[in-house]
């Protein structure tokens, strides 16, 4: 099966058991903290931590690497550009107009590693947190903003619905593509313009279908008494346990340590 970034990997692990709010906060801390880390030792510490977390998540390492594949190209490009075009530090190698400096190599590797760590942290969050739990956690974290009239519940609900409908729409796309192929549509033939035109018979019914589904869903929600976040309770209450606090504190300490190194 094709694994893509942001996919939930349903196994039992200590990371899966953590409160989604703790995981969201820890991921956010890691994402911002990474910008403060600029020593090799610090980066090594963060890398070691992320690797340990991947192991703890019980997501098979090969599967985890597959999750990262979409960004491999960007990382490679970033490293290549830094190595080739940065003129910092001592020159290591020259060939015609091509010059490679040790500062560039260092910068390239650091940047590449940072991107990989950022994406790994995000992939860990989504791989170990069910989409619904993620949305609930986000809603709770955003709820202080309700005082500023920020529609935290509604935003979380929209996210949940969007996530819920990705597989549905992808199935629908396949069906429509097959139906048009049976009518002689060819999606691989002709120039770029012809190929874009060939997607029209897929995109139009897909859009029409999405609107119809949205309408049906809205009606179903209303008939079940949905009226937004006001006074709404949850079937699964989130509970912030001591272990969540510990996980968050440890993450913060490691990041602080890495930034100071």
């Amino acid at each position: 099966m094709n694994r893509s970034l942001g996919q939930f990997y349903p196994v039992v692990s200590p990371l899966h058991a953590l409160d989604p709010r703790a995981k969201i906060l820890a991921t956010a801390a890691l994402v911002f903290g990474l910008f403060l880390v600029d020593s090799a030792a610090g980066l090594a510490l963060v890398t070691g931590t992320v690797v340990a977390l991947v192991v703890a998540s019980r997501v098979p390492p090969v599967t985890f690497l597959q999750l990262l594949r979409p960004v491999a190209f960007i990382v490679a490009l970033t490293v290549l550009f830094q190595v080739l075009f940065s003129r910092e530090g001592e020159m290591l190698f020259a060939w015609g107009i091509l010059e490679i400096h040790d500062g560039g190599v260092r910068l390239g590797l650091f940047l590449g590693l940072r991107i990989l760590l950022l994406v790994s942290a995000a992939a860990l969050l989504t791989a170990t947190t069910a989409p619904l739990a993620l949305a609930d956690g986000l809603e709770d974290l955003l709820s202080p903003l309700k005082k500023l009239r920020f529609p935290a519940h509604e935003v979380a609900m929209m996210m949940t619905i969007a996530l819920r409908f990705i597989p549905t729409l992808s199935e629908e796309t396949q069906k429509i593509t097959k139906a048009q192929a049976a009518r002689g549509a060819d999606f691989a033939e002709g120039g770029p313009l012809a190929r874009v035109r060939a997607t029209v018979p897929i995109l139009i019914p897909l859009t029409v279908g999405a609107f119809r589904r949205a309408d049906d869903l809205a009606e179903a929600m209303e008939s079940r008494g949905y009226q937004g976040g006001e006074g709404r309770t949850r079937y699964r209450e989130l509970r912030f346990r001591p272990r969540d606090a510990i996980a968050l504190t440890v993450t913060a300490l490691i990041l602080a340590g890495a930034a100071l190194l």
């Binding site: 139906a179 009518r183 002689g184 060819d186 029409v208």
Partner: protein, 271 residues
């Protein structure tokens, strides 16, 4: 045209934990001018099977033969013109601003001239009795009308074999009758029709032969009276009634179509 499937196997997601063998060596043929009914429960492989008929899915092993020629050697566009495939809920793929333009989509892909395209649009819309809808938007039609227009969109290719997957699901009884009439009309023009359905009444009414599919294998194939009386769980209620009454009386015979079974039951009551 004769469409033959020979020992078709199909495996979804091979080599993964999700591996599923959907077809395990299916052989059958749609003879020219016949209506072949395919029945079977959910998960029996019906939908997978029909997608092999125009090679939208390719078999793991086995061959699809068009008049004895391996379909894999034909051009895909040629094969898809000859074998028209109407999926379940085909109206979900309507897209053009008007009905006429939507029906013209397939013939346009065949690079015919405008007059020929117009002829085909008119003919196929009249086959499904939808000429009066031609300038309407397909999205503004009723469910039954959309279904007919979508079928016309496949008929416009001039298929020699028409494959229909659950064509009547969700239609009202009158629209269903229209559909059965269409199948009979097509048969008269010499085309073969493959009718996939879990509505056994419908299949019993029009099929010349019936194939029962079960867990990816052909459980039975043959004349409706033979197949339905030997696989009663796939038979209409009328057939089941006659079979139950006929257990003690072999002279009743094996009527299949509604009119025939009704006549038989009436003679039983009166005699």
């Amino acid at each position: 045209m004769r469409l033959e499937l020979r020992d078709i196997r199909h495996v979804y997601s091979p080599g993964t934990p999700f591996e599923l063998e959907a077809l395990r060596g299916v052989s059958l043929a749609a003879e020219p001018g016949e209506v072949l009914g395919i029945v079977g429960g959910t998960g029996s492989g019906k939908s997978t099977l029909i997608q092999h008929m125009n090679l939208l899915l390719e078999p793991a092993s086995g061959n699809v033969l068009v008049d004895g020629v391996d379909a894999a050697t034909l051009k895909k566009s040629e094969l898809r013109r000859k074998v028209g495939l109407v999926f379940q809920f085909p109206e979900a793929a309507l897209f053009a601003p008007t009905v006429a333009e939507d029906v013209a989509f397939a013939p346009r892909r065949l690079s015919l001239d405008e007059d020929e395209i117009e002829d085909r649009v008119r003919d196929s819309l009249s086959l499904v009795r939808a000429e009066h809808l031609r300038e309407r938007s397909p999205f503004a039609l009723s469910g039954g009308e959309q279904r007919r227009v979508a079928i016309a969109g496949v008929l416009a290719m001039g298929p020699e074999v028409l494959v229909l997957d659950e064509p009547a699901s969700g239609l009202d009884p009158a629209a269903r009758e229209d559909l059965l009439r269409l199948i009979r009309t097509l048969k008269q023009t010499g085309a073969s029709v493959v009718l996939v359905s879990h509505d056994t009444d419908e299949v019993a009414e029009v099929a010349d032969r019936i194939c029962v599919l079960e867990r990816g294998e052909v459980r039975a194939i043959g004349t409706p009276s033979k197949v339905l009386y030997e696989n009663l769980e796939f038979a209409p209620a009328t057939v089941q009634t006659v079979a139950a009454l006929g257990e003690s009386d072999q002279s009743i015979g094996r009527p299949v179509r509604f009119e025939e079974t009704l006549r038989t039951l009436r003679s039983l009551v009166e005699g």
